[in-house]
Amino acid sequence: MAEMKRHDNRLGLWGWLGGGRWGVERHAYILHRLTGLAILLYFLMHIVVTSLRASGKYMWIEGHVLHQPVFRFGEYLVFAAFAYHAFNGIRLVLVELGLAVGKPIEPIYPYKTSLNVQRPLLISMMVLAGIFLLLGSFEFLGVGK
């Protein structure tokens, strides 16, 4: 029999980034990856910029382009990404070691899943990330200096 033509219905990148999104864990998942990629990008840029040191001291002089507010703001975004990624990462380590998802139960409608079990952990980690971010904001704004 001849092979029948099929339509590939894999969602691809859009399925990863946009498809679904029915719950807060799904948003946390996207944000975790995006912040991870952002931190990686920053790391690469960081290596390039610090390596410029080899071509002279002038990059570190006050007033250079790297000290412009836009770069300060960029650094703040990296810090925010770090705060989220770190605290959500702690939750993921605990969850992915099967420590915060609860034991298997008898499924009785309406179903409660492991998502409900780990939700308090998610909320507390986000609160901690928020506090961390707030403290960092004071630092960035130079409050108390």
Binding site: E106, P107, T113
Partner: protein
């Protein structure tokens, strides 16, 4: 109950159509269906086929959430058509599409073979080193209710594929085993009668195995049977880590139970009928 058509409300079904022989790609076709309270999406599709368009194709069998045939995308949400009442999810419009992350054979019929092949690859059955025990059984395997509860939840899976359609990881990695096969692996790994977990770990611990999952949790959210594959996968990851670190508790598969009759037939039980296969 007498049918009261006056009580019906028109709902427009936006159905994905695709005929591999004539269409280059899927397109949406709309049908208006008079919907009464209590009608399921499956009933709506039957209405379309009987009254509006006999060429519409989809898959179903039990029409009561047992066989796992009718998984589809309803308003962008993977779920069972027979288990979903139209008026619960639609006021005026309803989109009906095939489960994503599978190839479309025709209209709403996805090709689930990729899922079944992955499922088969993880040995979804009890493995004993001594095959004789399974092939010519002389007694029962001993299992306590607590041992049963360790995997019972994961046995309720009906292989509908809704979780596979929802998983964002599967959307980008075709080779990822996916929530259903991984939950099945955890189900058998955890069975006190099983001795096949080492082989299964080879696969579930591979690059396309459990560690591809990052707990987006969509699989557990859409599962129509409350199987919670995301939970199964996280427990599986812990086992894989412990196994890798050589910290896994040495698990011996349970022995045959020689209960009151000590493995011998009791005198008052008639002999089993002759084997037919």
């Amino acid at each position: 109950m007498t049918e009261n058509t006056n009580n019906s409300r028109p709902i427009t079904f936006h159905v994905t159509r695709y005929n591999p022989e004539s269409d280059r790609k899927p397109y949406i076709k709309s049908y208006t269906v008079p919907v009464r309270a209590g009608m399921t999406v499956l009933d709506g599709l039957h209405y379309i086929k009987e009254n509006l368009d006999p060429t519409l194709a989809w898959r179903f069998s039990c029409r009561m959430g047992v066989c796992g045939s009718c998984g589809m995308l309803l308003n962008g949400h993977p779920t069972l058509a027979c288990n979903t009442q139209i008026l619960h999810i639609a006021d005026t419009d309803l989109t009906v599409g095939p489960l994503p992350n599978f190839e479309i054979i025709r209209d709403l019929v996805p090709d689930l073979m990729t899922m079944f092949e992955k499922h088969r690859s993880i040995n979804p059955h009890i493995v004993r080193t001594d095959e004789k025990e399974l092939n010519t059984p002389e007694g029962e395997f001993y299992q306590t209710p607590e041992q049963l509860e360790k995997f019972l939840q994961f046995t309720y899976c009906i292989k509908c594929g809704c979780c596979m359609g929802a998983c964002p990881t599967l959307a980008t990695d075709v080779h990822y085993l996916g929530p259903m096969p991984l939950a099945a692996a955890e189900r058998y790994d955890n069975d006190s009668r099983d001795d096949g977990w080492r082989d299964r770990h080879q696969l579930t611990g591979s690059a396309h195995g459990a560690f591809r999952c990052h707990y987006a949790g969509e699989c557990s959210r859409v599962c129509p049977k409350g199987v919670d594959p995301a939970r199964a996968i996280q427990h599986l990851k812990r086992q894989l880590v412990l196994d890798y670190l050589h910290l896994a508790r040495k698990k011996k598969p349970c022995a045959m139970l020689h209960g009151p009759g000590e493995g011998k037939l009791l005198a008052n039980i008639p002999a089993a009928p002759a084997k037919t296969v």
